[in-house]
Amino acid sequence: MIFTWQLFAQTVIAGVSIGVLYALMALGITFIYSIVRMINWAMGEFYMIGSYLQYLLVVYLFGPGLWYVALPLSALAVFLIGTVIEPILIKPMFGAAIERKDDYATVVTIALLLLLRNLATGLAGPYQRTPGSNLPTIMLGPLPQSGARFAAFVCGLAAIALFYLLLKKTWFGMALRAAAQSRLGVQTAGVDVLRLDQAAFGIGVALAGIAGALLAPVFFVFPTDGIVTTVKGFEIIVIGGLGSIPGALVGGILLGLVESLGAAFISSPYQNVYGFLLVLLILVIRPSGLFGERARLA
């Protein structure tokens, strides 16, 4: 183990920058849970779809120079896919015939996960791909960052900010926040909760899609590329609190820091264990997460 303050500073910056990217993933899971009251286990597969779409758009249409044109298109496409899937698979959950809604959601989204993953392998093969990036390496303080990763960091923060504004400042955002507090309440106030579910599912998976598109040149594109980010997403939710946007951001950065510092200065092979230790610690001292309480959104 080598320790210098320079190395420490570099490691901290590496942790924060990866943490913001993790947070984007957690945001989608937390958001869908808040509205639809279900855990979407297939979240990583929407990340995967976003990464493939970005790859296809950049490689076959726009070129790496226009990645920022491809990005909103990938996100929009994932949103549309989400709004098509939701009425078919998720909506029946709220029908009278389904008694165990949680079990239903778990089974259906895991089936979706397997379907999408195998579909991707069948269509694209098991190979890794990258859309490539022309962005130059950037110095983040003492730490060099690849251009693509820095762009993902900045766009990730921007996406989180935009999402926050949507929730706080728009009519639609208010309906979503109200639905997160009481589904029955907004329903009797005249809001079609099932339509809201559809939109919320679309937005939630689109957040994962944005993460996939942004990270396509950083972590590569392959059929199972969503697995790791989903796991991190769930860890962050426990740390930050289910349903909390600041919780997702703070949880993401905390997780990134713990992993980076642990890997660099304690023991490298346990990099993914430090996150779980943090999760366990949070569960002991604050089971609802740092920013968590039942049914909150904002």
Partner: protein
């Protein structure tokens, strides 16, 4: 005058339990009707049936000449039939003012264009209810009584409101706020001609407020009339034996 809201032979079974067995009830436009009955008589079930939370096992509900059977709660709300809940369903993390605005969601996206009118209506209601100084507080910071008041006030945000079903709006609330709610209801009834169906055990308030009451027992209406008339009904006396009828 044609009835505003009618239920005919309304039937609801939960497994083997019959919660409503042929409820027939009729409300005129602009009427304030009380709904009383012992605990477990099926009052809340009836409210849930009327507002679409449950679908009836049999019978019909008509509102302004149209059947509500099979409609979702939000569709019923959009037709001008709103409700409040016995267990207060405010949006705890939203501010008091936002809670009023959420009620207005019923009117759909086009209401977005009328930001100023909505804000004016909300301000007016905040003034009437004395909640103006708490407008920016999260609703969960309110006292129980204030919450009940706010919940009732929410419905009045909707200009299309024709019939308001209130489920135990006065339960466990101090007299000052009770009066504020009564005043709110009376004003809306007189100025806007809104009809009310009020479920309550609070007989003094019901006497002040209601034009008539219906008594629900064992899943069906056993008596209708003024409070004094129904109080003379033998079945009602039997059920409420020993209770004071102020």
């Amino acid at each position: 005058m044609d009835a505003l809201l009618t239920t005919t032979g309304l039937f609801k079974r939960f497994g083997g339990v019959v919660a409503a067995s042929g409820v027939s009830l009729s409300l005129r436009p602009g009427e304030i009707r009380g709904l009383i009955g012992p605990n477990g008589a099926g009052k809340t079930t009836l409210v849930n049936l009327i507002t679409g939370i449950y679908g009836p096992s049999g019978g019909d509900i008509r509102f302004r000449g149209e059947s509500l059977v099979g409609l979702a709660p939000h569709q019923i709300a959009r037709r001008g039939l709103l409700r409040s809940f016995q267990v207060c369903r405010l949006f705890g993390n939203l501010s008091v003012a936002e809670n009023l605005l959420v009620a207005d969601l019923a009117r759909g996206a086009h209401a977005f264009a009328e930001t100023r009118q909505r804000a004016a209506r909300a301000r007016e209601l905040l003034d009437i209810t004395n909640l103006a100084r708490l407008a920016d507080q999260p609703a969960k910071a309110l006292s129980g009584g204030q919450r009940a008041l706010l919940q009732v006030a929410c419905g009045f945000m909707v200009p299309e409101l024709r019939c308001y079903v209130l489920d135990e709006p006065f339960a466990g609330i101090n007299p000052v706020i009770k009066d504020a709610i009564v005043e709110l209801i009376r004003q809306a009834n007189e100025q806007r001609g809104i009809a009310f169906l009020i479920v309550s055990h609070e007989m003094p308030v019901m006497r002040r407020l209601c034009h008539g009451v219906s008594v629900l027992m064992d899943g069906h209406i056993v008596s209708e009339g003024t409070l004094d008339e129904v109080a003379a009904h033998p079945q009602v006396i039997a059920a409420y034996l020993g209770k004071s009828w102020a």
